[in-house]
Symmetry: C2
Subunit: 164 residues, 2 copies
């Protein structure tokens, strides 16, 4: 499989997970968190899927396409390790969907950040909230979900916030 | 359609065009030209499709993934307007496939560069060579081809070097 094939599969997996999560949380109130804006393509997709939701975006360094730029009220700039733990007040309500796409080419750093997120995210989540992630997250508060139909295991990761 | 949807369609169109062109030129001798390396994903795909071909890559400024870096002999760095017209000797034989992905966010510049390429490319091509392009090219030497099945018109552009 070429890197082009692999990239297309990753984007298709990302989209399928976002679509499934948007359906799943349709009847639950709460804002959405996008961790890592990048080019802004998944943010744009989330806006289209969930036009009535508040989407708060966390990004260290802005590099998004102008067509996919959040307004100032919904953009939280800075190192996520500093901004996320204190974000509860800004967000105003428990989040119902989190999309975390913060991986880089550094596998060790990715694993460390995912472990940290798995601790910090659950207190920010509503019961039944979904977490979609480019990295696996291990937490007793996050129940792993099967990937959408046609998407390979381990390509993207889905979790549901446990309420029991 | 979100920007994520649109991006996936563009990559799928790119891949379908490359796959079709690689089949079409399978029995014709000659090297391949990749105009614009970028991340290197389509270069990686071309290498996989055509493992026995020489692939010459033209790029202004290297930003490719290390896994998709051509060797020094096949990498021609610099402004394509300076490097391409003089590339015949370096390439050594008429090219049988060209993939041009040099567009940027600047539509005027893209149109101008595509018009220039449509003049400069044909003398470098073997009879029956294919040109795959992110921009439309107009030249009496380039016959437009229909897109592969399932790919919308105008998403990516295919041409065959006229021999009549």
């Amino acid at each position: 499989m070429s890197r082009l094939d692999s990239f297309i599969r990753r984007l298709e997996a990302q989209r399928a997970c976002l679509n499934q999560a948007a359906l799943a949380i349709a009847d639950l109130p709460g804002p959405v968190l996008e961790l890592g804006l990048g080019n802004g393509r998944t943010y744009d997709h989330l806006r289209e899927l969930l036009p009535a939701r508040e989407i708060f975006v966390f990004e260290r360094q802005l590099a998004a396409h102008p067509a996919s730029m959040p307004d100032a009220e919904h953009l939280i700039l800075g190192d996520i390790r500093e901004t996320l733990p204190a974000a509860g007040a800004r967000i105003g309500a428990p989040a119902v969907l989190v999309h975390s796409d913060v991986g880089t080419g550094d596998a060790e750093r990715n694993a460390e950040l995912a472990a940290w997120l798995a601790q910090v995210l659950p207190p920010l989540l509503a019961p039944g909230a979904w977490v979609i992630s480019d990295q696996p997250m291990r937490s007793p508060a996050l129940a792993p979900l099967a990937p959408p139909e046609g998407i390979a295991e381990q390509r993207y990761f889905l979790y549901r916030h446990r309420t029991d």
